[in-house]
Symmetry: none
Subunit: 128 residues, 4 copies
Amino acid sequence: MITIDYKDRRPIYEQIVERISQLVAGGVLKPDEQLPSVRQLALELSINPNTIQRAYSELESAGIIYAQKGKGNFVSLSSDDAKKGFKRLIFTKLNDLIVQADSCGIEQAEFVGECARIYQGLGEGKGK
Amino acid sequence: MITIDYKDRRPIYEQIVERISQLVAGGVLKPDEQLPSVRQLALELSINPNTIQRAYSELESAGIIYAQKGKGNFVSLSSDDAKKGFKRLIFTKLNDLIVQADSCGIEQAEFVGECARIYQGLGEGKGK
Amino acid sequence: MITIDYKDRRPIYEQIVERISQLVAGGVLKPDEQLPSVRQLALELSINPNTIQRAYSELESAGIIYAQKGKGNFVSLSSDDAKKGFKRLIFTKLNDLIVQADSCGIEQAEFVGECARIYQGLGEGKGK
Amino acid sequence: MITIDYKDRRPIYEQIVERISQLVAGGVLKPDEQLPSVRQLALELSINPNTIQRAYSELESAGIIYAQKGKGNFVSLSSDDAKKGFKRLIFTKLNDLIVQADSCGIEQAEFVGECARIYQGLGEGKGK
DNA sequence: GTGGTCTAGACCACT
DNA sequence: GTGGTCTAGACCACG
C-alpha cells in the first residue's frame, strides 16, 4: 500500500504524506477509517517511528487526517474534498512547469500534444 | 540578466543554472559566447564565488557550457540543442505530474483544459 | 445530556468534566442529585469505564461531586457555588488572553468591541 | 528575549512559536531580519536543537518566517500582517471562552466589566 | 556554520 | 498499545 523509494531525493516523510494523500483522494482510504499506527507502519517500512510521526503530523495540520491520543489516526476528509485539494496542488505544479516551458519556446500545441502522448502511454499500460 | 530570488526555497546555484539554461535556449546567449567570469558575476549578484562556481560546474557537466583554463567559460550548445535538452527535462517532469494526476482521477480532457487556461493566462500577461 | 466530540483534540475525560461542570453551574444537576453510574454512563457513551472514572475523580477532587462507596456519585455544589468556581476559572483564562492581546497591541476598546460582537452572535444563534 | 516556562503544560516548541509570533507582531523583529540560528538558540535556552528546529518549521509553514539553507532563518511577514494573524488567533480563543462563559450564565455586562478590570490592572503594572 | 532529515531511545498522557 | 514530545547524535546539502 505504501512503499518508499530511497532513490527519490525527497525526504521519506514527504513521500509518505503524498502517498497517503493519494490513497485518500483515490477513495481507497475512506473518511473516519483508521490508519496503521505509527509504530506498526514504522515496522512495516522498517524506518524510524519518528519519521512516520512527522508524516502524520503534516497530514493532520493539512486537515487530511485527525489524531486521537491513545486511539490512533483517522481519515478526516471526504474523498471529494481531498481530490479538490490535490487538484489544486497538481495544477499549481503544472503552472510552474508551463511557465518554464513557455520561457524556452515550447508552445501550447506542442505541450498539449505531449500531454496526449503521455496519457495514451498510461492507457496502454493499464490495458496490459 | 540574472536575478536571484532569496525567498525561493531552491538553492541559489540551481536558480543560476536554470536562468543560464533559459538564456541559451532562448538564443540570448549564443554558441562560443563568453560568460561573465565567476568573480565578476559573484560581485554583481553579491553572493559567494563558490556558489557561481558550482552553478558553472553543473552547467559544464550538463554540456551546456565549457571552460577554458585561464580564459573563462563559454556557451557550447546551439540554441536548438539547448531547447531539445530543455524539452526532454520538462517533458520528464510533465510525465511525473500526469502520472500523479491520473492516480487521483484527473482525466486527459480536464488536464488539457487546464493547460490551455494557463497558456492563455501567460499570453495575457505578455500582452500588458 | 452528555455528548462526546471525537474530533475534539482534548481528552475525552476533560470533555466530560467540562460538560458536567456546566450542567451543575447551569442548575440542571442540583445538589445531592445522583449522577449516572460509571458503568451506565460508559455504556451510554460507549467508551471505556476507566475514562468515566477518571472524569468523576477529577470532579471529586475539584469539589464538584462526592462519591459514596456502594451508592454512587452525587452533586455536592449548589448551582451558585459551581458558577463561582467556573467564573474564577474563566476569568483566569481571560486574564491570560488579555495579557497576550495587550502584548501585541490590541487595546481595551477593540477587545471589548469584539466581546460585544461575539455575545451578539450568540444571542442570534439562540433566537433561531 | 525568549524564555521557557517549564511549569507550562504546553510543549516547549509551542511556547517558542508563540513567543516569536509575538515578537514579530509587536514589531520587535522586523521583516527580513535574521533570527538566531537553530544551534545558537538551542544553546542559549539549553534545550535540544531539534526542538528549536521544530518551532522554526512551524513558524515557516505558518508563513511567519522563511528559511534559507546555509544562511539562516528570517522574518517574512510585515508587522501588520503578523498582527492581523495574531488578532484572528486571539479572537478565536476569545470566542471559545465566551461560549463557555455564556453556557454557565455569565452575561455580557459582567464579562466586559471583568475585561475592563484586567486591562486596568495591566495599565497599573506598566505605570510602576 | 547553517538549515533539513533521520535514527535511536526515552518519557508522558490517554484509552 | 496509541499518539505526542523531547533528547542525543549523526549525516547531508548549501554558502
